[in-house]
């Protein structure tokens, strides 16, 4: 582990932190275009963050230290997750810290902290949001695990760098089982990141909120960190998806010189642009589900992933 790999690690993290709000901004832009609205500028999330960082924190009078610490913990876990996911290169010093299953665990830690913080003030909406978010969590996690099971069967590993290297060895071969898994993954991604059809990130109706209800009591820099962390979460999920299903272009071990890294960044940006547009399209075409339809939706994702598993075991493909 030399200086170069540390620099590479550091640049991966900085790239994630910088690109995450832009990715969110890009999705918002695409969505606005698809809905024939005039789109906000790409850097709108950044402007929002700057505004929030400059405001005074209005803190509920009996907020506990847990409530104040949670935004930092959320941000910290998401940045660390970004350091582990091979978004542009596989040979990262942090890559062995956690495999894909442990990554789900890290995301779950962040979710539990946010839910606890939402319950801290003791408002009706906060607790309701916490309950719903935890519910979506326990429905989504089995489906996500089955997706990883598919990936494991093809490569014999749940470590994301090993997965990427295994797929990159024989490029452009699409496995039928992975196709099912990819659809399941996208469904889980939408649910886990509080997007339509499970939650609506731009809703103004408190009773239908999940993520927004949990952060209602946050303001100023705390809210900025929470929002940045949720942008990072979406970015991280997208990068996990790239590593699992379209790993081409990620600089693999031994082929990670400066040029290869630049190329990998360019490929990543193209992938993000395409993925953002696709997500916006999915969101524009679907309506938000009632909260008790969420189990059916996530059961569907689960079944797709299981189907992929069976296809693999039966057909060996």
């Amino acid at each position: 582990m030399g200086v170069i790999s540390l620099v590479r690690q550091f640049s991966v993290v900085l790239l994630a932190v910088a690109l995450a709000p832009l990715f969110a901004g890009w999705i918002a832009q695409c969505r606005a275009w698809l809905q024939s609205r005039s789109a906000p500028p790409l850097v709108q999330p950044y402007r929002m963050l700057r505004k929030l960082f400059n405001k005074d924190v209005a803190l509920a009078k009996d907020a506990s230290p847990l409530f104040r610490a949670t935004p930092y913990i959320l941000f910290g876990t998401m940045v660390l997750a970004a350091a582990i996911i091979p978004s542009i290169a596989t040979d990262l010093p942090f890559a062995r810290v956690a495999d894909a299953i442990a990554l789900i665990g890290i995301f779950a830690t962040a979710r539990v902290f946010l839910s606890l913080a939402a319950m801290d003030i003791g408002t009706a909406f906060g607790t309701m949001g916490a309950r719903r978010d935890m519910m979506v969590g326990f429905l989504a996690e089995p489906a996500l695990l089955m997706v990883l099971f598919n990936a494991f069967l093809l490569s014999g590993s749940t470590a994301l760098p090993s997965l990427v290297e295994a797929y990159s060895a024989h490029p452009l071969s699409m496995n039928p089982s992975l196709t099912f898994a990819a659809v399941a993954f996208v469904m889980v991604l939408l649910a886990e990141n509080s997007r339509i059809p499970i939650d609506n990130p731009t809703t103004h109706l408190e009773l239908t909120m999940i993520h927004e209800a949990m952060v209602l009591e946050y303001s100023a820099r705390h809210l900025a960190l929470v929002e940045w962390a949720s942008d990072l979460k979406l970015f991280n999920y997208a990068c996990i998806g790239f590593a699992l299903f379209i790993p081409w272009g990620i600089a693999t071990h031994g082929a990670d010189g400066g040029l290869a890294l630049l190329l990998a960044v360019a490929v990543l940006i193209v992938k993000l642009l395409l993925a953002g547009a696709a997500l916006a399209l999915v969101e524009a075409l679907s309506a938000k589900l009632r909260i008790f339809r969420a189990p059916e939706y996530l059961a569907m994702a689960f079944l797709l992933a299981v189907l992929g598993l069976l296809v693999h075991i039966l057909l060996g493909a």
């Binding site: 009078k61 506990s64 847990l66 956690a98 779950a108 003030i121 309950r131 935890m134 969590g137």
Partner: protein
Amino acid sequence: MSLYSLLFRCILTLSLHDLHLLLVLVLGWLILGLAGLLRPHRVGLVAAVLFPVGAVIALGVALLGGIALMAAHIPQVAVLPLGLPDLPFHVRLDALSGFFLLLLGVAGAGISIFAAGYFRSGEGTAPGLHCLQYHTFLASMALVVLADDAYFFMVAWETMALSSYFLVTSQHRIPEIRRAGFLYLLIAHVGALCILLSFGVLQGGSWQFTFDSMRSARLTPFWASTAFLLALVGFGAKAGLVPLHVWLPEAHPAAPSPVSAMMSGLMLKTAVYGVLRITFDLLHIRYWWWGVLVLIVGLFSGLFGAIFAAVQTDMKRLLAYSSIENIGLIFAGIGLAILFEAFNLRLFAALALTAALIHSLNHSLFKSLLFLATGSVLHATNHRSLGKLGGLIRRMPWVATLALIGTLAIAGLPPLNGFISEWLLLQSFLFTPQIPHAFLNMVVPLGAAALVLIAALAAYVMVKFYGIIFLGQPREASLAEAHDPGWLERLGLAWLALGCVLIGVLPKIALRAAGSVTGALLGQAVNVSTPFWWIAPIAPAQASYSGLVLVGGIVVVVGITYVLVRVLAHGRVRRTVPWDCGYPWQTSRMQDTAEGFGQPILHMFGPFFRIERDTPSPSDCSPHYRIHIEDRLWRAIYQPIEIAVQHLSNAIGTLQGGRLATYLLYSFLTLIGLLVFVLWA
């Protein structure tokens, strides 16, 4: 002085043998218990001396258990000059018993220190008597693990059941507690009978009841399976596997909190020990369908426990159901290990067994921690119902912080210990498609999804538990007087929390400890050749995890973020009323309740429950909403048995007319019958 020198000479003559030292320590517990009887009504002696000394002894037991895991000179055996003339007590210390002694000692030390501050004189059993029951309970658990023949095992097992029965019923003036105690005793004895029968089968016609002769017995497949199934039922009744779980949510909450912690954290593990001892040590062969059976029972118990925990409104009942869930996970690991071993996939069997062992250890730490925390809450507030608690993080910061560690650990979240075992279990599930059986390799992987569902439900349950007790607004005015417990109780909680953090951050310690057990039982251990700060149980390219770097990374990132935010932005904070979407008149009664938190579960998993709802009519002036949730299995299984037993007793009761002449007739008829039988034969 003479006692001391006697003890010293005793140790010398025993030549500092680990096993003998252990027996001396166990004897120490029994002596402590008896010492409690010297002044049974004075809480001072018990609290200030006996319980802390008991905690020190527990540490000694843990140390010796740990040494047994590392040492090369095990197994050690000894024969005690106790028991019946032809049936002396055999004891044996090997890796498996060493592991469970370690677990017993580490968690027992924390619980004892806590108990030193917890027990007060008042209603119920006198403190001195408590001390006797408590230490007998501890000692009997240690002896269960050490016993090396069926006779001694059953004696220790029954002592454990009885001493815990008396501890459960220490508030024996309350009828519900007496009922809970009776149910517990009943099912404990049904289980003990099955275990006894299992040993009867295991001796395989040699009529030697030492474990050594059972190891060399070669049973036919039928009798081996019979022995296994009897053991599973017997130990499953003690562990609380569904459908033998009904006593658990009644008995655990009824007991004082340190006792609940011991029962849930330690006693359930003796059942795990028993299953492991019989399956992997005493039986010479294992069949794959045993593994499937245990896996199904384990996963079902896990799901059942998690779902029921989610709808509980009593904090100790919630934890009791969560114990069923955790035991389910442990048995799922054991089932998987049997399955792999039957197909000779020893490395994966070792992985699954490692997961089960580490989860046992973890559960003993975090479940004890949480039960003890509920004890502190109970003492501080006098409320057990979640509907009357809330906001205690501001009144009891110590307990709240330590309970948060336990909550995150039991929810299976990195970087704490609960995650380690669940991660290992998931890793072993990943290899199930390699089972050379065309049907199993497709169905068993779905168990992984069930496992994740259980773990995620557990997180839901624990958010409910912690959020409703410690966060939000106090739901009762009296909670304003709640305060943190004394330093002994805090020390006990902190010790257990430290264990949770340590195993989470440096999981390799636990992996090594479990590795010696799997090495002894399966002849195979998972890979531990990584540096101390990370683990890769199969191979680094397959999967790896490092709790230390994870924690370090998060701390560094959080630190940098905090400094940057402070430097670049201002730090102004204005304290105001909560916003709550601009609604100013909210009260603590408007918060989500425990029932509300359980509602999605009730909605989704409706068929699991028997629900009685009283919904008020719209015209009701003083509306009351009442919901009663029951276990379907109680009506499906236990009530028919209860009714049948009642009928049978009534039928037998008719024989008892109360007339001497009738009784003489019975005797006469029996005698005739016997004579006929003898002549016939």
